[in-house]
Subunit: 608 residues, 2 copies
């Protein structure tokens, strides 16, 4: 070993010890005949003191930032103690040293508050990774990994590796493919998830499986998506939905405890998808704050069992609301004194193309008990009060109202709710609120193909009570106009998402395990028998040999880490991430390959 101790280890109790340290030069400070060097490694920083007798040697071999240094000396009590540093009470009086390697001047400073831009730091990621901030992120990631494994191990789960070179079965997302040299003309695919393998493991009797595993999706990258990402992938047999919810809220609570020291003792709230959409306009609501929606008006075709409050809009003659499909409101606490400039600015905000609303109506619930609105011409104060009350507004609050087409307006009010919460400081980084969202629709309607697509994936089971509906009805949509009346439109999935602070961190379902039902599902997605057998023959076959009831969940590991770390960006929690063009700018990959490789693989380029 080049060291006897790390740079985070020595304390005043080690005073007098002869030690050898190694690490990187963080700073060099010369005071006349003596020199102080802060030596850094993964564990911390220790101050080295070079006395007069080493000065000449230092002058001959000057130290620079990021030089790799080995120094031997004695642990001394510092005269000028640094209470912010765990090693701040001591320093090393150096007796000899050796420069293990030199460093060019780094292209940016190795500090939390670096002067390096994103591109530069990605190109020199090996230097960026030296920064304490990035190191803390990777340490947190490892702690989450470790906590998840320990919990799952304790619950009898087995880590079983599934293959990476599999078969391409593009549903939904695109596969990355890998040409096979030994089987010319044929390709492997990289797994989008180990979904079918973990189901086969259930058929095989390994009733509690987990894996922390890389998955691959060749999608156009939105900000903060990566072509390769990591899942905590889990599956259980002989379970119902409730068993899975309990097991995995246990896991996330364990992670909170181990990684953040947070005792999350309350039961995780559960909410149906319909309630989430109805009350928050969103299937992953942030419930750190309330501001739930007032559904003033909605079309009859959706949320059929919900009752809107359209009576509050009756007989006003306000065309904007009368002509709108949907009218939704929220009450922003303590905003009744917003100025004209502020409400104008909010109006501009909802008119931006990303939100796409035509305007914003509001009601100020003044602290003196009066109501003032942008719609004063059409609404009596009594009517304004009734709406404000229904929205849960108190004196001092501001009711914000959006009107328009159902889907867009619901999304817009959800976005506005999040925006107001952000402005009001209600989205606290150190507060964590978990939520289960349940009972998603099993299908979405695909207008282009006039057919169903699986909202989660084709292996998700309908609610037990709806299996018959699915089996006994023809999945074909004969009347595209009236697809909402098709019996499949109302089938709910036995599926669940775990939401943390408004982010989906995990999702899963109870799976289909009956061949007949699985075939019906594939048919609903427009797959004929031949395609079913070509793509999923192995799974349909497996269901004939005693498949048990089973279900599972997968957590987005990168995302979970970034939220626990209080960051918006998953990239900060990945050692070697790719940019938005899917490139590793450090490696300069992807890149061209040799002609020999093309020849061996028997493929060639066909550039447009």
């Amino acid at each position: 070993m080049f060291r006897s101790h790390t740079n985070g280890e020595l304390r005043i109790s080690d005073k007098g010890k002869q030690v050898t340290l190694a690490g990187w030069v963080q700073t060099v400070r010369k005071f006349g005949a003596i020199t102080f060097v802060d030596l850094r490694d993964r564990y911390g920083i220790t101050q080295l003191l070079f006395g007069e007798e080493l000065n000449r040697e230092l002058e001959e071999n000057p130290l620079g930032r990021e030089f790799v240094l080995q120094a031997t000396g004695t642990v001394n009590e510092r005269s000028n103690k640094n209470p912010n540093l765990p090693t701040g009470e001591i320093e090393i009086l150096v007796s000899s040293f050796k420069i293990l390697n030199r460093s060019a001047v780094p292209p940016f400073t190795i500090q939390d508050d670096t002067d390096g831009g994103d591109d530069l730091r990605m190109k020199y990621r090996f230097l960026d990774l030296r920064r304490n901030l990035v190191k803390k992120n990777l340490e947190l990631r490892y702690a989450v990994n470790r906590a998840a494994r320990n919990y799952l191990h304790g619950q009898g789960f087995m880590d079983i590796e599934t293959p990476f070179l599999i078969k391409s079965t593009p549903e939904g997302a695109r596969d990355f493919v890998v040409p096979s040299r030994m089987n010319p003309g044929q390709f492997y695919a990289l797994p989008q998830s180990p979904q079918t393998f973990k189901q086969l493991l259930m058929v095989s009797g390994y009733d509690r499986y987990y894996q922390i595993v890389k998955c691959f999706r060749d999608e156009d990258l939105r900000a903060d998506r990566q072509p390769e990402f990591t899942q905590i992938d889990c599956e259980m047999a002989f379970v119902e939905q409730d068993d899975i919810l309990n097991m995995f809220e246990g896991m996330v609570k364990h992670i909170f405890q181990e990684v953040k020291g947070i005792a999350y003792t309350e039961k995780v709230q559960r909410m149906t998808w319909e309630d989430a959409m109805w009350n928050y306009g969103n299937d992953k609501p942030d419930i750190r704050f309330d501001m739930s929606l007032l559904n003033l008006k909605k079309p009859g075709s959706v949320y059929v069992e919900k009752q809107d409050r359209s009576e509050l809009l009756n007989d006003t003659g306000f065309k904007v609301f009368d002509e709108a499909e949907t009218v939704l409101a929220i009450a922003a606490p303590g905003c009744s004194e917003y100025s004209r400039k502020q409400t104008d600015e909010l109006t501009e905000w909802v008119k931006r193309p990303q939100i796409g609303m035509k305007g914003l109506a509001f009601i100020k619930c003044n602290t003196d008990g009066t109501y003032k609105s942008s719609m004063d011409k059409f609404f009596t104060e009594e009517k304004l009060k009734a709406i404000a009350d229904a929205a849960g507004a108190k004196a001092g609050d501001l009711v914000l109202i959006l009107a328009g087409a159902e889907e867009r307006t619901r999304k817009a009010i959800s976005d506005l709710r999040m925006e107001m919460a952000e402005r009001l400081g209600l989205r606290k980084k150190d507060e964590f609120r978990l939520l289960w969202v349940l009972d998603f629709p099993l299908f979405e309607y695909d207008e282009e193909g006039n057919r169903w697509v699986a909202r989660h994936h084709p292996f998700t089971s309908p609610k037990p009570a709806q299996i018959d509906t699915m089996i006994s009805n023809d999945p074909v949509i004969h009347n595209a106009e009236e697809y909402l009346k098709h019996p499949y439109a109302n089938i709910k999935a036995n599926a669940y998402d775990m939401v943390l602070n408004g982010n989906e961190i995990g999702g899963g379902s109870i799976r289909i395990y009956q061949r007949e039902l699985q075939e019906k599902m594939f048919a609903a997605l427009g797959m004929d028998k031949e395609e079913q057998l070509h793509k999923f023959g192995f799974l349909l076959g497996a269901f004939e040999y005693g498949a048990p009831p089973h279900g599972g969940i997968a957590f987005g590991f990168d995302r979970l880490c970034s939220i626990l770390g209080g960051s918006e960006s998953i990239r900060d929690f990945i050692a070697f991430p790719k940019n938005n063009a899917g490139r590793d700018v450090m490696l300069d990959a992807p890149a061209t390959i040799d002609q020999k490789q093309f020849d061996e693989l028997q493929i060639k380029l066909n550039l447009k």
Copy 2:
């Protein structure tokens, strides 16, 4: 949950309890009006007793092998106890049951001693995985995984994920490549190992890294190779060779303790590569038994510091030995009474093309003190005795002698040594002997290119004392005939292999961390500056910013598991393995892809 207990859980102390079990029907045995069913899951087997009152129901819903059954009833003491089963003292008196899923008749029996051939079992791998034997293998694999992680965690190592979509830099083995849709004409490569990334992590200061990670090599598959395989991949900074050897023999000992209950307390033997080749003819000798080689004769160009015993062959006039480059012998214990038929059969064995020897000479060391040989015409009994003594033979032993060209003969005697050990029962599956082999040659000579190739990989450092030799000499081989006299021919690597029972289970090295030395290495391998920068510019760049001394090791996880499990085949320890043509016969992958995929990737086939 569909069960209150598993099928491996209930004991006589649970007598009287009301329980619900779920699992697979292993056997159904009808005795008049009652029926016994063995119910199986991952945890064991429990006997169910269906009494008369359930008989009609059973007749209406007959159970078959591998049906998935849920049964509720009372824990009863068995009259006919089965001491071989942990649950053998009890049975469940069933009060109600439900068939959760039916099963077709499996294509082979789900038993240790199955009637299914290899191909059939691979096609139905999900059924094969139900067999207890295969389950034990995967459980062992998980136990090894867990033990390795726990040890490394305890030693301060961090699991850090490295990317799977990287850049193709084919040295040695072929890369699998992945066309990039977003970067048409460019390709990612799948990593053959995370080698350069773990070195960058050392440059970044994460001084103890590990990962249990999939790696990929597109090689023609010999028996028991897989295109994707798993490594325990580790790297440390600020270490010398000895630190790594101690750390990782600690890890393997910990695995022995945790997984096999074996306290491997003795220090792991260390042997130089030259000694291994000299004494065993092999760089991964099995040292569970001795039978070391007697080097009777060797050419002057190799093992230059070793002394052969050619004086024992002087003046015999035996042309076979006189004309041979190399003559090697071993003493097979207790074989002096081999019959003519047996020695003939051994002679045929060494003449097989795989071994390629022209013949086999032997000396019988009879128990009466006489010596009898196939070369009696040329060797006096005194000379025979001298050779036998030098080979370490005692009365009752059989000395076996091979002669021929150096490389082939050394390999042949090593093979013969292993074969004799096998025949003599010296390769015991429950005996484990570890060995470090050290100081490999850094380079091998590539005749075709008249240049050097890296024996381990291009990042391996020479022995510290030989760095100067490497830097100060021109790597070009000007005289191909005399390549052995080139200064590079004698450079030893700072590399080490861990050998278990004659198998290499891990290998690694102290790495180059100086740009100048790394460039010299690349040049020796025939890479010009441009190619160096294109392929490894990021690494050479990283070495300019304070790279610390570092080194590491990677263990072949599949192989380690198979040896610990007492099997020859790694495939038995992989949940979903590929066959020798790189195919997954269950999935039928690789397979053709859609035209749309070709179009999006902008590639086409170019079949010969």
